[in-house]
């Protein structure tokens, strides 16, 4: 089966159920469609429990959906994880590996020799603000630095899609904003294809070219909101009236506004 349209990542008719003992199976996703162009930054946002993680695991190739297909560059890739690089919510840097060895882990696992893998990741350290920390252990780094190291590890795998699962969720709000500004800058330079799962409306709008809003469980697509804010995005972006309007629009699509009298 092939999908056209020049999408890097396309998800079609995704449905997923979890079996429950003695009850109806829990339907988490219900016919979800999603498409990401090459070099596009796409956010997925939804109420908690709406199946974001399930979607994420399916796209990462870690779980197989009950129904539906994941396409990468037009080819069916359901259940395969070899084209998507996954950055989990927790940084998951291994405490026994130095930062460069953590960053090189993906390459090492794929069969690159340890020395070569280190040499491959080392040039990235400057850009990721980690110069001089190659030989440090994760415990010696701040939260923001650890998150950048985790992103470095993800990028170093050189896969065609980056999957970021609430990457800044565990950071304090000031650090988070700094990281968002930094990520916007990095994206500007590298034009990665990114699927960002988040529950932070501000983050979704600020970073993305489009925001996919999910309904509550079982999740379908409530709205696809294109974000036409000017690039490059900077701290000024937050101040644009257009930014506030988009935030409102996402909020509306989430159905939150109707709950508030």
């Amino acid at each position: 089966m092939n999908a056209g349209g020049g999408y890097r990542l396309e998800v079609r008719g995704l449905a997923h159920e979890f079996p429950r003992s003695g009850q109806e199976p829990l339907r988490v996703l219900d016919g979800l469609d999603l498409a990401v162009r090459p070099g596009e930054f796409t956010a997925v946002i939804g109420p908690s429990g709406s199946g974001k993680s399930t979607l994420f695991n399916i796209v990462a190739g870690l779980d197989r959906p009950s129904q539906g297909t994941v396409f990468i560059d037009g080819h069916a890739a359901t259940g395969h994880s070899d084209q998507v690089a996954y950055m989990p919510q927790k940084d998951l840097l291994f405490p026994w590996r130095t930062i460069e060895d953590n960053a090189a882990l993906g390459l090492e696992v794929q069969g690159t020799a340890k020395k070569a893998a280190r040499a491959a990741v080392r040039p990235l350290f400057g850009e990721f603000g980690l110069d001089g920390f190659e030989r440090s252990y994760p415990a010696q780094l701040s939260g923001g630095m650890r998150q950048r190291a985790a992103l470095l590890r993800t990028v170093a795998m050189q896969r065609s899609v980056l999957l970021l699962d609430e990457p800044f969720g565990a950071l304090d709000s000031l650090t988070r904003t700094q990281m968002q500004l930094w990520l916007a800058q990095m994206w500007q330079r590298h034009a990665w294809t990114v699927l960002l799962v988040t529950h932070d409306i501000r983050e979704a709008v600020f970073l993305s070219d489009s925001v996919h809003v999910l309904t509550s469980r079982p999740a379908t697509l409530a709205a696809r909101i294109p974000v036409d804010l000017p690039r490059p995005r900077t701290a000024q972006t937050f101040l644009l009236p257009e930014f506030a309007r988009l935030e409102q629009q996402v909020l509306g699509a989430l159905g939150t506004t109707s709950d508030v009298p």
Binding site: N57, Y86, L92, L105, G106, V109, A139
Partner: protein, 267 residues
């Protein structure tokens, strides 16, 4: 870290037990010298040390076989624990089959089995090695198996998304993650190791600290019985301390972790 700082840290660890040991020895000396006043019942600390020093050649001569038994038995136990714990980690069937037997093996009274081992395997090295292994391999295996099992599910998913094989995940995540647990088990079991060897010698041996102690008891050389015990205790403490040195060498990252995280695995 500078040498001065390291020296100060070592001193800070050492002075409380040293002070306590000195106080206890002084108490012993006083009780033996002024209350009991019979070297056949309780020799003074000084009598023990000077008698021990006079037979230092014999003590050393007997310490070597005991240490050999301990090292060989512990080596066997070490190899077995990694083998069994790895098998248990890879196969749930192996885990379910082995764990109850592991626990059961610990209920075997060493007192009962040591003479049997001598009857079956003779007076040489083998029964001692087996007894040391029996006494030490459970804490090692159990701590390793628990250590492997603590690997974070999310970490395993991350490795899987990278395309790692089961074996790669094991070698790159589960093994290093289990090391702190392993060292806890190592410390528990190493205190049994020399004791196990001494006990095995007690049941029958040609030489060794255990049999030497027994002979001295039969000769009413209570001072030398105490001197032998002192040597055994010193060797155990040295072995115990060496596990910390080894741990620092093998898990260099742990000194950067928060103290809370570092003590989390202690029993």
């Amino acid at each position: 870290m500078t040498a001065a700082v390291t020296g100060r840290r070592v001193w800070r660890t050492l002075w409380p037990p040293l002070l306590l040991a000195v106080a206890l020895i002084a108490g012993w000396q006083l009780v033996a010298q002024f209350a009991i006043r019979d070297a056949q019942v309780l020799p003074t600390a000084w009598q023990v040390v000077s008698a021990g020093w006079q037979v230092r050649g014999d003590l050393w001569h007997n310490a070597v076989p005991t240490l050999t038994e301990t090292a060989t038995g512990f080596g066997l136990s070490f190899a077995l624990s990694w083998l069994i714990a790895t098998a248990m980690d890879f196969s749930d069937a192996a885990r379910r089959a082995v764990y109850p037997l592991l626990v059961a093996s610990q209920t075997i009274p060493v007192v009962a089995i040591a003479p049997l081992f001598v009857v079956i395997f003779g007076f040489q090295l083998l029964p001692k090695v087996l007894l040391v292994a029996l006494a030490t391999f459970f804490p090692l295996t159990a701590s390793l198996a628990e250590g492997f099992a603590t690997a974070d599910g999310d970490a395993m998913r991350l490795l899987r998304s990278m395309g790692a094989s089961r074996w790669q995940s094991f070698a790159k995540v589960r093994v290093p993650g289990a090391l702190p647990f392993f060292f806890t088990g190592l410390r528990v079991s190493i205190t049994y190791a020399i004791g196990g060897a001494v006990f095995a010698e007690y049941a029958g041996a040609e030489n060794g600290l255990g049999i030497y102690m027994q002979q001295m008891q039969q000769n009413f050389r209570i001072d030398l019985v105490f001197a032998t015990i002192l040597v055994i205790a010193l060797l155990s403490v040295l072995l115990f301390a060496s596990t910390y040195a080894l741990e620092r060498l093998v898990t260099p990252w742990r000194r950067f972790e928060a103290p809370r995280a570092a003590v989390r695995d202690r029993p």
